[in-house]
């Protein structure tokens, strides 16, 4: 799979639902094949924040900016972490490229 670029926009897939339960944030597939615990993804605080930013409007660079302004992390590290998380989410089908995205 081609590595996503920071300019691209991604949106949360409609087949995934993210929920905060207690101290954890999980995203759960809700397609017609039932809930499979193995495909549930636990997100840490930063990853949960990134997940909530993936609205299809904001570019990757915009998400990284938001992370940097919210958490104590330098931009290069935030960008690398963002792209790694995005790769995982794409593999799971948890996010989809936004329409018109220059991916």
């Amino acid at each position: 799979m081609k590595r996503p670029a920071l300019e691209s926009r991604f949106a949360r897939s409609e087949r995934m639902v993210g929920r905060r339960i207690g101290d954890a944030y999980v995203i759960v597939p809700i397609d017609g094949h039932g809930a499979d615990l193995d495909t549930v993804l636990n997100l840490n605080r930063v990853a949960a924040f990134v997940w909530e930013q993936l609205d299809g409007e904001r570019s990757g660079a915009g998400v990284v900016d938001a992370v940097v302004s919210r958490f104590d992390v330098d931009r290069a590290q935030a960008a690398a972490d963002y792209l790694e998380l995005l790769g995982t989410l794409l593999e799971l089908g948890a996010v989809v490229p936004s329409r018109g995205s220059a991916r």
């Binding site: 639902v17 929920r19 207690g22 759960v28 809700i30 017609g32 094949h33 039932g34 809930a35 615990l37």
Partner: protein, 520 residues
């Protein structure tokens, strides 16, 4: 947070919380207060919460998908109960576990059924108010309703009004019923469908709706009156207040007090001091509650219970429905629920509102992690048991000739519940045998056997004894036979002679079998 009860095992607490549908709420409370005793509970409850979240989200997705399928056919529908509550009055879907999801079809019932079948859903059970289907993909169960509770029409459903008052969904579901409709539906379900015995989370639903939904109290009263549900609403709110401290608005109290029938009040009030009487798995007095709720409408209750909108074969002609009603009446008394034509029976744990097939009490201890919801007691036995405990005598028509001449086919007998006066050897008893309820003579039982020993019954014209019975399998005994005032149903000497003959027959048959074995 109360101190941990001495002698209570952590695993038992987790199991009970799960059975009552409150495991995730318990975890939330423990995480907030962190009592020392809670440490061993946190991990199993966290696993439970994660599993419940995944399951609930999948169930709600299924509910939304069914709504979409119906909408594609131009059929309006609304979700009912758990799925709506999980998205509206609980903080997360994991806080409101469900055994299945319910969708109310507001129109074109046959087309709604056809839409699900065409989409590959498999019918697994039928009730008069809802059919249960299994989603072929997830295996989850959806109940498609045409009425909120059994006996459609008893609480009239204003489909247009329901739709007009409904509101857009905030989560996966497309639309929700209005808050007032939701509360009326919950009350009908609690009172009429489940005889005021629910799991804790189902009672908590009332509290959450009252706390978190902006209810228009005038509209609530108007809707209750229009759907003739004043009594169920009054009864359910009274119980919810006792069980989970549901904050019933003071402004409603005069109306609620006036709406509760006298008999219902007599039933509820002594129990309010012991609210666990309303929590599963206490057996509901379903027939009694329905009877009291429908004060002034009892003939209609019987009519709508027996005469369904169509026969199991789909016939809607009046004559066919009446014939089916007769068969249903007999079946209810004999406890023989029908299977859908050509369909295997549903596993007992899968469908909770349809009442078929009978649900064993042990099914409350589920192993699949889903909460136990109080099963609707199979109506026939519930009806019989409740009638026997509520009334001094219950009338039953004898079928079959195995008790002649003591009881003839067609005789009408008056039964007295075993809880009112224990039967004795010589009585003709109504007992649950392996093949259903039977009126046979008690030939071995009190006062001849010590407590805990099995009892034996036998048909007067039968050769052998019936299988051994536990005392609780004997529901009632025959006190009188109508139209035969001089008949004596109890015949102690005959019972003992009958027992002796049965034992002799058994010995004889055993000897023949031995001889046959020897000559082979």
């Amino acid at each position: 947070m109360p101190p941990f009860l001495e002698g209570l095992a952590a695993a038992d607490l987790v199991k009970t919380a799960r059975d009552q549908g409150v495991a995730c709420l318990l975890l939330g409370a423990l995480e907030t207060e962190r009592p020392a005793w809670a440490a061993p509970l946190l991990e199993p409850l966290a696993a439970e919460r994660r599993a419940t979240l995944v399951r609930s989200l999948g169930q709600i997705a299924l509910c939304a998908r069914v709504q979409g399928l119906l909408e594609a056919q131009g059929i309006r529908s609304l979700p009912l109960k758990g799925a709506v509550l999980a998205e509206t009055v609980y903080d997360a879907e994991s806080d409101r576990a469900m055994s299945d999801v319910d969708v109310l079809a507001l129109e074109r019932w046959p087309d709604a059924i056809a839409a699900l079948v065409a989409a590959g859903f498999a019918e697994i059970a039928r009730g008069d108010h809802a059919w249960a289907f299994r989603d072929p993909g997830s295996g989850a169960v959806v109940e498609l309703h045409r009425s909120v509770v059994s006996a459609p029409g008893l609480f009239p459903m204003d489909a247009e009004g329901l739709w007009k008052r409904s509101r857009p969904g905030r989560g996966q579901l497309r639309r929700y019923p209005s808050s007032e409709d939701l509360l009326v539906q919950l009350a009908l379900h609690a009172a009429f469908q489940h005889g005021l015995v629910l799991s804790l989370v189902q009672w908590l639903d009332f509290r959450r709706v009252l706390e978190r939904e902006a209810l228009d109290l005038e509209r609530l009263q108007a809707l209750s009156a229009r759907s003739r549900a004043d009594a169920p609403v009054a009864a359910a709110l009274a119980v919810a207040e006792a069980v989970v401290a549901a904050p019933v608005p003071d402004a409603l109290r005069p109306w609620l007090a006036a709406s509760l029938p006298r008999g219902m009040r007599r039933f509820i009030e002594p129990r309010l001091g012991e609210p666990l009487a309303f929590v599963a798995s206490e057996p509901p007095s379903l027939a009694r509650v329905r009877w009291e709720l429908l004060a002034g409408r009892r003939a209609e209750l019987v009519w709508r219970t027996l005469v369904l909108p169509e026969t199991p074969e789909g016939e809607t002609r009046f004559v066919s429905r009446m014939a089916a009603a007769g068969r249903r009446a007999v079946r209810l008394l004999r406890r023989q629920p029908p299977a859908p034509p050509g369909q295997p029976r549903t596993p007992a744990t899968e469908v909770h509102d349809l009442g078929e097939p009978p649900v064993a009490p042990s099914s409350l201890a589920r192993t699949d992690g889903a909460p136990a919801v109080p099963p609707e007691v199979p109506f026939a036995e519930a009806l019989l048991r409740d009638c026997l405990s509520a009334f001094p005598q219950v009338r039953l028509t004898v079928s079959g000739r195995c008790m002649e001449p003591a009881l003839a086919h067609g005789d009408k007998v008056r039964l007295v519940g075993a809880s009112r006066r224990p039967p004795r050897v010589g009585d003709v008893v109504l007992a649950r045998q392996t093949d259903g309820l039977r009126l046979h003579r008690l030939v071995w039982g009190p006062p001849l056997v010590p407590p805990g020993w099995p009892w034996r019954t036998k048909a007067d014209r039968g050769l052998l004894l019936d299988p051994p019975l536990a005392a609780e399998d004997v529901l009632a005994w025959v006190e009188t036979i109508e139209g035969r005032p001089r008949a004596r149903p109890r015949r102690t000497a005959q019972a003992l002679v009958s027992l002796a003959f049965a034992l002799a027959a058994r010995i004889r048959l055993g000897r023949r079998a031995t001889e046959a074995e020897a000559t082979r």
